[in-house]
């Protein structure tokens, strides 16, 4: 039997973690070949499942000794290929690190291991009147470690912010294998702020201290049906312009509603060209006042039907269609791409019209589901993969939507991350100097480039190179080892 390059390190991992926590069997390795973005697949070289931060640090040190790239992964729900493994490297799975270490209500914080799911934190404190605010749609299964890596958002981040606004402290294993505490309040550079959202390229979080939020006194959810997206958009502008920051404002267009209806029979108003969901929360009197305003503004903007929910069941009924929208498009299209771009809220009408034009131009249907309050679009680009050329056209439309976002001063990703999927778009959004400056951070944390390489940045500058504008071809490009996008 031939000796594979990873056999030596794998034996050392087994010594460190025990044989049951190291996977080398090719069939079992394939379980980990992708994250939520399934069209990128790589079978990892070795998978390890450590129990403790010390074990993670030990694994990372062995990787350093053998010059092996490593990728950390939680539940693998990411949608940008951020946890895509390396065939020549090690996949560090945090699934066994799922203890809630402490809940400290007087200080409104909890410390958990990275494999704890987002929802498990809320479930642990719900009965005590608290919750963990960031709520990505995958919160039942996604892990807090993955949320930290991606700086995850969710429907309610319009009012409450993202993961980075709710993480008070981190214990990380640095790319060279040291355990370091990063604190939001300690003296020095805000390394915690730089680490959250760095997509695993600056190290691995092994403990996360999160802020717990007190459950609001009142939650009221309103569904408003409009003839078209433009009228719905007018309502959104009026609400925000009126000084109201709802907990969430979500919009779906006719095609997205059709899909949701086919999948979960959410019984949204018939004939709606756009459905707007507005959630208000806070002190009862405040919510009552805002509810009156929002209702009035929706009517003025042309809402032809309004539904209200102020108990959990009715609220769930309103959210049902929205929350199932991504999966639901499978009912009306054999294949689809979920895009994740952001535009300034005021640019929404123009961008949606442009998406409509693109859709007609390429003969590709696009269902729009979006966080209207913060301009985060999730166009679902639908195509039939049996039709020759359709996938390519869908990919083209999807890319053109990102171009639109950049043209309007927006972002190529609002919450899913760059990962491998969008690394090539980074030079469209940032200059070479911007990217080089980001590389200074990368090189400080990870001079050898072993931590989740190939993600976020298309052509990272080598850490030994002098900072500043690149001169001539990149050495990796020149050597034929990398491609410049």
């Amino acid at each position: 039997m031939s000796i594979r390059p990873l056999d030596g390190p794998a034996r050392r991992f087994e010594e460190l973690l025990g044989p049951r926590s190291v996977i080398t069997d090719p069939v079992r390795l394939r379980t980990y070949e992708c994250d939520g973005l399934t069209h990128h697949r790589v079978t990892p070289g070795v998978v390890v499942l450590p129990d403790t931060a010390e074990q993670v640090a030990g694994v990372v040190r062995i990787c350093n000794e053998h010059d092996l790239p490593f990728v950390a992964r939680g539940a693998g729900t990411g949608l940008s290929g951020g946890a895509l493994p390396r065939s020549d490297g090690v996949l560090i799975v945090t699934a066994k690190m799922r203890r809630i270490l402490s809940i400290d209500l007087p200080n409104r914080r909890a410390t958990v291991e990275p494999g704890v799911t987002n929802l498990a934190i809320t479930e642990a404190v719900r009965g005590l009147g608290f919750y963990y605010a960031p709520d990505p749609s995958s919160q039942q299964v996604c892990t807090i470690g993955g949320n930290v890596a991606e700086n995850s958002g969710g429907a309610h981040c319009l009012k409450y912010g993202f993961t980075v606004n709710h993480v008070l402290g981190l214990e990380i294993v640095t790319p060279d294998g040291y355990i370091v505490e990063l604190s939001e309040s300690g003296p020095g550079y805000d390394l915690l702020g730089a680490f959250v959202g760095s997509e695993g390229t600056l190290g691995i979080a092994t403990k996360v201290t999160v802020r717990l939020s007190r459950a609001p006194e009142t939650v009221t959810t309103l569904l408003a049906a409009f003839e078209d997206v433009e009228r719905g958009g007018r309502a959104v502008s009026a609400i925000i312009g009126g000084g109201i920051v709802p907990a969430a404002i979500e919009m779906m267009d006719a095609l997205a509603v059709e899909a949701a209806e086919a999948a979960v029979a959410c019984a949204y108003p018939e004939g709606a060209g756009a459905v707007l969901i507005v959630e208000l929360d806070g002190p009862a009197e405040e919510v009552a006042h805002q509810f009156g305003e929002v209702t009035r503004l929706c009517r003025e903007a042309g809402a032809f039907e309004l539904r209200v929910a102020d108990d959990p069941e009715r609220r769930a009924a309103i959210w049902k269609g929205r929350k199932s929208a991504f999966a639901a498009v499978g009912r009306i299209s054999p294949a689809y791409i979920v895009q994740d771009g952001v535009v300034p809220r005021t640019a929404l009408p123009g961008v949606l019209a442009s998406i409509d034009r693109l859709s007609h131009e390429y003969g590709i249907r696009v269902a729009n589901v979006f966080h209207a309050g913060d301009g985060n679009l999730h166009p679902l680009v639908l195509f039939d993969d049996a039709e020759p050329g359709a996938a390519e056209r869908a990919e083209l439309v999807s890319g053109r939507i990102l171009d639109l976002c950049i043209e309007h001063g927006g972002s190529i990703t609002g919450e899913h991350g760059v990962g491998v999927d969008k690394a090539r778009y980074m030079p469209k959004m940032f200059s070479a100097d911007d990217l080089d400056t980001m590389q200074l951070v990368r090189c400080a944390f990870d001079p050898r480039g072993l931590s989740n390489p190939g993600k976020v940045f298309p052509t990272p500058r080598l850490c030994g190179e002098a900072p500043g504008v690149r001169r001539g071809a990149h050495p990796l490009v020149e050597a034929g080892l990398a491609e410049q996008f």
Partner: protein
């Protein structure tokens, strides 16, 4: 004030040539005056660039001639941090503009503003007031100021009472333009609130005390100005312990809880922080030993009156509580000028922090955000250096069991000599590596920051 010439006597012979090179950037350059000193260290020149391009040109000249640069705005916090090891050029950001002389680009419909780093926070909020929007940062006013510039607020990561509801500068910053030590202009983030593309350099630069580069522009998320504001408060009796010069009087658990007003402080703060009336700020003001401690909250929004009344009722179980339509006069202001320390403890350990201080029996004034656990402490002028050193070491050690820390923000010349102003951090090796990458020549505010960075 003990101003020293960091360059030695007379300066090097190439000085006139360097000044010419700086002038060639287009920025206004002048010789520094004694009032331009940075924590007692005199620069040679003061540059007033008009835009990011001129800052970049200045930084390139500085790189070529190994000039040390310290950025400055309204100078309200220029004496914070360690004195710089050297300072050749003070870079005054107050004249910075972008796009045809603009200092603010306000997109009201997006609740976003792009702002020149040199603009004063107070001026910015006056400009936004017409749209009934604001940048929800309070700044930390000192005598005769309105809280400094946007750039200074970011560089020192200062935040006032409303941090409890809105977060701090790093939470409200969505995009930043910086000029690095070698003149590279870099942007991160953007003009949209929701954005996870690339590393967040804005967070790294926020609180970096000018050691990584010069912040020239910032883009912030804004908030609607609340329809109404109310303040409610209560006075709690002070601890009866007198304290000792060495501060040995207090050990956690050494005093029975409830023996004075402080014992109930944390339960009050916990109750306020969790109250459904949703205060935007929970502040304390303690003028010093033998004085009562005031706890005050701010409530904002349409139903502010009714919600503040609910909180007043809650507080009335602790003492005589009050309700006002105006902020208390001490609200959001630094507790003092010359000697200013910042204490950080978990919110439910605020009373421990106060007892640790009270144990020294010194005339300390403490003020700050109880529910966010950032307190600032000041002393009257004339404090003895030995007592100060003992206090810093002792309070730091006293806060350690609670996971707290202490930073000396400002101190009169000589008082903090030999004192570690920042305190320990396990991440210091990583911070040094960041500094080495961004500023390998150690020319950006050298020595001012944690561990002498």
């Amino acid at each position: 004030m003990g101003v020293t010439d960091a360059t030695g006597t007379g300066g090097p012979p190439e000085a006139p040539e360097a000044m010419e090179a700086l002038r060639a950037t287009g920025a206004v350059i002048r010789d520094a005056a004694p009032g331009d000193a940075v924590a007692g260290v005199a620069p040679r020149w003061v540059a007033s660039p008009r835009d990011t391009g001129e800052v970049a040109a200045l930084m390139r000249v500085s790189a070529a001639r190994d000039l040390a640069v310290v950025p400055a705005g309204d100078r309200t916090k220029l004496d914070w941090g360690n004195p710089p090891e050297r300072c050749d050029l003070l870079l005054d950001t107050r004249g910075l503009t972008f796009g045809d002389g603009l200092v603010v680009e306000h997109s009201a419909g997006d609740l976003v503003a792009r702002v020149s780093a040199g603009l004063a926070l107070g001026t910015l909020n006056s400009m936004l007031a017409g749209s009934r929007q604001e940048l929800a940062l309070d700044g930390v006013p000192r005598a005769g100021t309105v809280g400094g510039t946007v750039g200074g607020t970011l560089a020192t990561a200062t935040a006032g009472p409303r941090r409890f509801r809105y977060g701090t500068a790093r939470d409200l910053l969505i995009g930043v333009t910086v000029v690095l030590a070698d003149g590279t202009v870099a942007r991160s983030g953007g003009a949209v609130v929701k954005n996870v593309a690339g590393y967040d350099l804005g967070k790294l630069f926020t609180g970096s005390y000018g050691t990584l580069g010069v912040i020239t522009e910032a883009t912030f998320r804004l908030h609607p100005v609340p329809a109404d504001r109310r303040w409610a408060g209560v006075d709690l009796p002070a601890p009866r312990t007198g304290g000792t010069p060495g501060g040995q009087a207090y050990r956690p658990g050494g005093l029975p809880p409830g023996s004075d007003g402080f014992g109930r402080l944390d339960s009050l703060v916990t109750a306020l922080a969790s109250a459904q009336a949703e205060p935007s700020a929970i502040e304390i003001d303690w003028p010093g030993p033998r004085h009562d401690l005031t706890v005050a909250v701010l409530v904002e929004g349409v139903s502010a009156g009714a919600r503040a009344e609910a909180l007043r009722e809650l507080m009335s179980a602790y003492g005589t509580a009050w309700l006002r339509t105006e902020a208390p006069e001490w609200w959001a202001a630094a507790p003092g000028e010359d000697t200013l320390l910042e204490l950080r403890v978990p919110p439910a350990c605020t009373h421990h922090a106060l007892r640790v201080i009270a144990a020294y029996g010194l005339p300390a004034r403490v003020r700050g955000s109880a529910a966010s656990a950032v307190l600032r402490m000041s002393f009257p002028a004339g404090m003895d250096r030995e007592a100060f050193t003992g206090l810093v070491t002792g309070v730091r050690a006293g806060l350690h069991p609670f996971g707290g820390g202490l930073t000396v923000l400002a101190a009169p010349p000589g008082l903090a000599d030999g004192v570690d102003r920042w305190g320990p951090s396990s991440a210091q090796p990583l911070m040094r590596r960041i500094k080495e990458r961004f500023d390998p020549g150690r020319r950006m505010s050298p020595g001012r920051f944690v561990g002498g960075i």
